[in-house]
Amino acid sequence: MKLRLLSAVSVLAALFSGCSFEADLSDVQITQRGLIVPGVPQTTPTSLSSTPTFFSLSSSDVAWAKGMKTDVLIHRVQIAASGSLSTLDFIDCVHVTVAAPSSSEGAIPIMDYERNEEAPSSSVIDVNIPAPVDIATVWSADETVIELQLAGQLPQQDWTVDVTLNLSGKITYKF
């Protein structure tokens, strides 16, 4: 009787334990190249202006990276000058949020950057986020929108930047 019981438990444990797979991706880099920032007409030569720009990452854009469903964190944001721009010194402030149009949850602020007046000239704004925010809820939507609010003495003509996000997250499958 004991033999039958134990063998049955063994078989049941094997059958109903199911399968699960989990991959822990600690550094995934997603780059949006040539993001167009609209020019801002200036009323005076020294006036500050701001403009929002955004790009969206859909399941078709980043394919498997959208499979990260839990613990999705953005650790670093890089904004690099591209095209004819040689420097981004004219940008004083950057505010980045992540949102999902289909989600009822509002935009999640990711980072705030403010240029130090003594900072050397650079073509890259590189911000490490010491306390990353979990964006799993908006990342798991089909479409995720990353919005950048730029402020400073912005060019009057359209210009372009490359935006890079460094993320981590977990891909989980259960069968």
Partner: protein, 307 residues
Amino acid sequence: MGSSAQKIALVGSLLAALVAAQNARASEQLYPADQTPSDAGVDDPAPQAASDAGVGQMPDLAPADLRVPQVDAGLADIGDATAQSDAGELAASTLRPEATHREAQEIPFARGADVGPGAKSSRQGEDMSVAATAASASPKRLPIFGVMADVGVPDGLNVSLAIRPRKWVRFCGGGGTNSISYGWRTGITLLPFGQGPSASLEYGGYQDGDANALAKKLMGGGFNGSPVLERVGYQYLNAHLGLDFGSRRFVFFIHGGVSVLRGQIHNLDAALAGAGATGTTEVLVRQDPNAKAVGPSVKLGFIGYVW
């Protein structure tokens, strides 16, 4: 996930523990739990005298092993006798009343000359060897060391040294292959009834190997290989229940349960090149992901105990 040195140290520790357990078992066979070494010997009630007579030099042997068939008196009597007398006076004072001095002279150990240290020594050696042979040939003693071979998932094919210090517990350590690379495994199996139902816990690992060849065999000629399969390695932990048949020299077993696999996925970036980008969007995996899989597992095998 540890280094090879850590793995070797782990296996070494396991084997050392098993050897210690074996020594304890051998000691237990000589000195049963209810009998101390001095109890098993023949030194009471006159330990010093018996020692003088030479009999006390065999403390490890039970009195039954030392009895001489022709002598009705027990060994303790001989001990008493040797305590009370010189060698030549032994027989008359210790054998049963009807035994004459002549009879006593014909009885080994009872004769004065035989009880002397020289003659006694050779006789003692014979008796000890008989006792030792009897102990080693005891039908109750299970062979301890054996060779185990098994096959399963995710274990692959393994050959191990099996050690059974008690009938209810078995340790194993060895190596094998999963058709991709070579690996190692160690584990413990508990058999509460000596055979039949069993519970096992095993830990093993396979070093990185190219799994493309195996994938082509399994998936056919249409499979062109994948960079992500070029380095496949993993560690695994099995928690199994099962059945073990046989108990003495050969054991057949079938185990099943749950396994947890851990490993790194290499070259994922190369495998996903172009798959995760459209136009102006680029996706890179800058660090190999750590992966964990949990699923059912099964294996079957046999053990041949040789010693």
